[in-house]
């Protein structure tokens, strides 16, 4: 692939050799960010755009983004979904600004063109005076390849993106387990949406792997999660940890320990990073899928999306709600330090001739494909892939 490096690029980028030592400018340079949109966000990656339970009925839709591109995701038939660019094919106007809605068609507010929810154009007022070769059928909305895997709707711009199985590879089982095994119908419980003032790769580098290290709450509760293995796989360096938890034994620190209680002996616990920009966590009885998008090189918007199951009984349904709201979000009892770390890394990475260094675990796992839960080696398959993909 062509190298984006020019004599005007930051010197650190011109000299980047070791993929485990990432120059700060990779996280801050605006040209790098533009190239990431092209080669990564609009490149050969499946990216989650909706959960089936967000748009459960035929006719439901959701708006979201891949990279900086606004999308409409529609539920159009039995297990059939469409993803299209939320821009009128006439002059580029945004067709809807509802986050979640219901519609069989979308009428452009500008000149009244009408599109059905599969993106076909049906009405073009004043067509008799359009150019002679005008055909409505040439003016459907731009479609993305769309697939459903484990109750998640994924889309990609790139015809070369491999199948979901190949894309996720060995990272698939932990993600499937996070979502209840993939078959039991999920139910949408709510969102915690937030902007982190950090580059999207800082958000991905600094979450998931460090549970026992960073989080004070676990220490105060004398409650450490299990010891899992980070398993990296697929194309682009996704990873998952399927670690399982022990039930919490109340040490009296909290007045209401239900926030860390595991009910129904549901001990499955997994953390997943799906490249380029998605995380999913199942911990205790809280199920959390995080959509995200970059807002330029210095900000990342994340939608923590909380889930239960349609067949949950009243007790566990209520418990999931109460636990999800306070446990693992951007202001969560055990997780707020993540938010703090993301922003504090961002503030400091403007220095020249400095690198972010992935060191822990590389002694036993030089390729980072199998390493311990708290190791840094697990991020290195991604950085190896990134460096090549970006031509750096």
């Amino acid at each position: 692939m062509n190298s984006p490096i020019s004599p005007l690029s930051p010197v650190d980028l011109q000299n980047w050799s070791d993929h485990t030592r990432v120059p700060f400018s990779v996280y801050t340079d605006p040209d790098i960010y533009r190239l990431e949109l092209e080669r990564i966000f609009y490149g050969p990656f499946w990216q989650p755009v909706a959960l089936v339970c967000e748009i459960p009925e035929i006719g439901d839709y959701k708006t979201f983004f891949i990279g900086e591109t606004p999308l409409i995701v529609t539920h159009t038939g039995e297990n059939e979904f469409h993803t299209m660019v939320n821009a009128c094919s006439h002059r580029g106007v945004e067709l809807t600004n509802e986050f979640l809605g219901k519609a069989n068609d979308f009428t452009c507010p500008y000149h009244g063109w009408v599109f059905d929810n599969k993106g076909e154009c049906h009405v073009t007022p004043g067509e008799e005076r359009f150019r002679a070769d005008f055909k409505k059928s040439d003016f459907g909305l731009t479609q993305l390849r769309t697939t459903v895997w484990s109750q998640v709707v994924w889309a990609t711009f790139d015809p070369a993106t491999p199948s979901m199985e190949e894309f996720l590879g060995d990272a698939a089982p932990a993600l499937r387990n996070a979502l209840g095994g993939g078959e039991r119908p999920l139910k949408l419980l709510g969102y915690q949406k937030i902007v982190f003032n950090c580059n999207w790769k800082i958000y991905m580098d600094n979450d998931g792997y460090h549970a026992g290290l960073l989080h004070t709450a676990f220490r105060l509760l004398d409650f450490q999660g299990g010891q899992g293995i980070q398993i990296s796989g697929g194309t682009g360096g996704h990873w998952g940890i399927d670690y399982g938890t022990k039930p919490y034994e109340d040490n009296g620190y909290l007045n209401d320990a239900s926030v860390v209680e595991t009910r129904n002996n549901e001990l499955t616990a997994t953390v997943n990073l799906i490249r380029p920009l998605c995380q999913s966590v199942k911990h205790l009885n809280s199920i959390n899928f995080r959509f995200a998008r970059p807002l330029g090189p210095g900000k990342t918007e994340v939608h923590y999306t909380y889930l239960g199951f349609v067949d949950d009984d009243d007790d566990i349904a209520e418990h999931r709600i109460r636990q999800s709201a306070n446990l693992l979000g951007p202001s969560g009892f055990v997780s707020i330090e993540d938010s703090a770390v993301f922003e504090r890394v961002q503030k400091a990475i403007t220095a020249p001739h400095n690198t972010v260094n992935f060191v822990k675990g590389l002694a036993e796992s030089p390729d980072g494909k199998r390493c311990m839960q708290n190791d840094e080696a697990g991020s290195t398959p991604w950085w190896n892939d990134y460096k090549q993909r970006m031509g750096l």
Partner: protein, 162 residues
């Protein structure tokens, strides 16, 4: 249900509202807790959640024990790790109604600005409170406070309740 027009009662309602925001502005979590009755509840959610009837919002302290634990979160668990900010509140009373059972229902707008450690100030969130207020031992307290944000996506992570 009747609109409250009695000036002294309105002044007492305003006082509990101010006690709440003033405690948060001083990061005085005990002062925040003291504005709630026991039992009492606090919820922070958004207009988007209300519209789509989604129960998991930003914070859910649906019993007094959770209100107490929230003080512990801010004072002990998170204190060393987070970047504290200085919140500043502007509140505006929309209406107050006396319910048939003698409790007060109040609706109050809020705007919260914050100043970070770098000294730069920004808008944090905008929204309104739905409150139920009761009188206990001659004092007004929240029996339930629901803060509903218009802001679906705050510009930084929230540490303190709103």
């Amino acid at each position: 249900m009747a609109q409250i027009i009695d000036a002294s009662l309105l002044a007492r309602i305003d006082n509990v509202q101010r006690a709440y925001t003033h405690a948060l502005e001083r990061r005085n979590m005990e002062g925040w807790l003291a504005t709630f009755n026991n039992p009492g509840t606090y919820e922070l959610t958004t207009q988007e959640h209300v519209k789509h009837n989604l129960p998991v919002g930003m914070m859910l302290d649906d019993c007094y024990e959770r209100l107490q634990d929230r003080c512990t979160y801010v004072n002990e668990v998170w204190n060393h790790a987070v970047e504290h900010y200085q919140p500043r509140y502007q509140i505006y009373r929309n209406f107050c109604e006396m319910q048939n059972d003698g409790t007060i229902h109040a609706d109050t707008n809020f705007t919260v600005f914050y100043t970070g450690p770098d000294g730069h100030s920004h808008l944090l969130v905008v929204g309104h409170y739905h409150d139920n207020i009761i009188e206990v031992d001659g004092e007004l307290r929240f029996s339930s406070r629901k803060a509903i944000l218009d802001t679906a996506v705050p510009p930084r992570y929230l540490i303190y309740p709103v």
